[in-house]
Symmetry: C2
Subunit: 216 residues, 2 copies
């Protein structure tokens, strides 16, 4: 199952690095902790980090969008470009020119709208907590009515979507292969350190498995 290419998501070059595969797109969105949301204010670009959660073919966004962006989203929707990037490794070629990065990057274009239905908002906030720490939703106090009213969640349909990725070893020129320089890939990953309990954590509360077993 693939997303349909659009003029904005069709590749202008490096065609072999672009994919519209839904499962591959979902995997990137689900693995990343943060996304970067771009929007236009007074004709100029603004890019802010946000938390996101995917529910089927909808992306929910939550964070400090800034008052102007939220007002715009309330007033008929906000044109956004949401980009999620995972860096999988550093590609070290013999030549400086062929240095690169192994990465997976999803770009979503569309109109973000404020979620106003209370049931959808509650489900979206559950999904946002779950997206950051799977299993956490059941290990926390659910939001009350006052907290829901103070929280803004944006909804963005996954319709105009593409994935760009690079993987594998460096692509050096043939004439550099016998040179003196090391070449290869340095893999990178995001790992958790030991959990740090809150200083005011009540005695007798053990660190739950959804914290000790967290992985990406």
């Amino acid at each position: 199952m693939e997303y349909a290419p659009s003029p904005r998501t069709a590749p202008t070059r490096s065609r072999e690095r672009v994919s519209y595969d839904r499962a591959a797109v979902h995997a990137v969105l689900d693995e990343a902790v943060v996304c970067h949301v771009g929007f236009v204010v007074d004709g100029r670009p603004v890019v802010l980090p946000q938390l996101h959660a995917r529910v089927d073919e909808t992306l929910y966004l939550h964070g400090s969008t800034g008052a102007r962006a939220l007002l715009a989203a309330r007033d008929g929707g906000l044109d956004v470009c949401v980009t999620v990037t995972l860096v999988d490794g550093l590609v070290l070629a013999r030549s400086a020119f062929h240095h690169s990065v192994n990465y997976r990057s999803v770009v979503v274009h569309g109109t973000a709208e404020v979620v106003t239905d209370p049931a959808e908002q509650t489900a979206a906030l559950d999904a946002l907590v779950h997206a950051v720490v799977p299993g956490r939703t059941a290990g926390t106090r659910a939001p009350d009515r006052r907290e829901l009213a103070a929280t803004t969640v944006l909804r963005l349909p996954l319709a105009e979507v593409s994935l760009k990725a690079r993987s594998g070893p460096p692509n050096d020129d043939a004439e550099d292969l016998d040179g003196p320089h090391w070449a290869g890939v340095l893999p990178l990953s995001t790992v958790p350190g030991p959990p740090v309990p809150a200083p005011d954590l009540a005695a007798g509360i053990e660190t739950p498995a959804h914290v000790t077993d967290w992985t990406r």
Copy 2:
């Protein structure tokens, strides 16, 4: 030494999380492997991941900006917003509402221009390789004239810049402190795995220290 706030970098809320300290901004820019560059095409936002390198108070950008953006940058400069985000930890509060992320995020507004001076371009490409892998510049074949001509580097002055950050434990409401839920921070970091030599690496070339000792 601080950057001067502007209407675009002055906080509209969470004022205590915003800083203009140059050393703190530099540390974030230097630690991050990728940035996200936002620009406007036909009135709509586009956000793409890029590599960056800081040289004093200039940020150099390199990557697949897409033909349209590069053309715009050639023709008098391109309005961009460059955002760099480091996720330091997941903040797990007793309440879903107070869940958060410990992060450091730098936002740079300005006009990016194509570097045309050959000496500046060479220095910028050296800085880009060094930014990804310190010490690598001397361990690789330098670009030749043909490669320099095929490479576009953008220059962005660090003038309109702000840093937003959160650190420390969760901020739960007093009435939740005696609840049954674990609270604390799960620190995250980016770590290298074992280097993977290129399949066609010549015999006898050892993995250099700038690869085995890479850290962030």
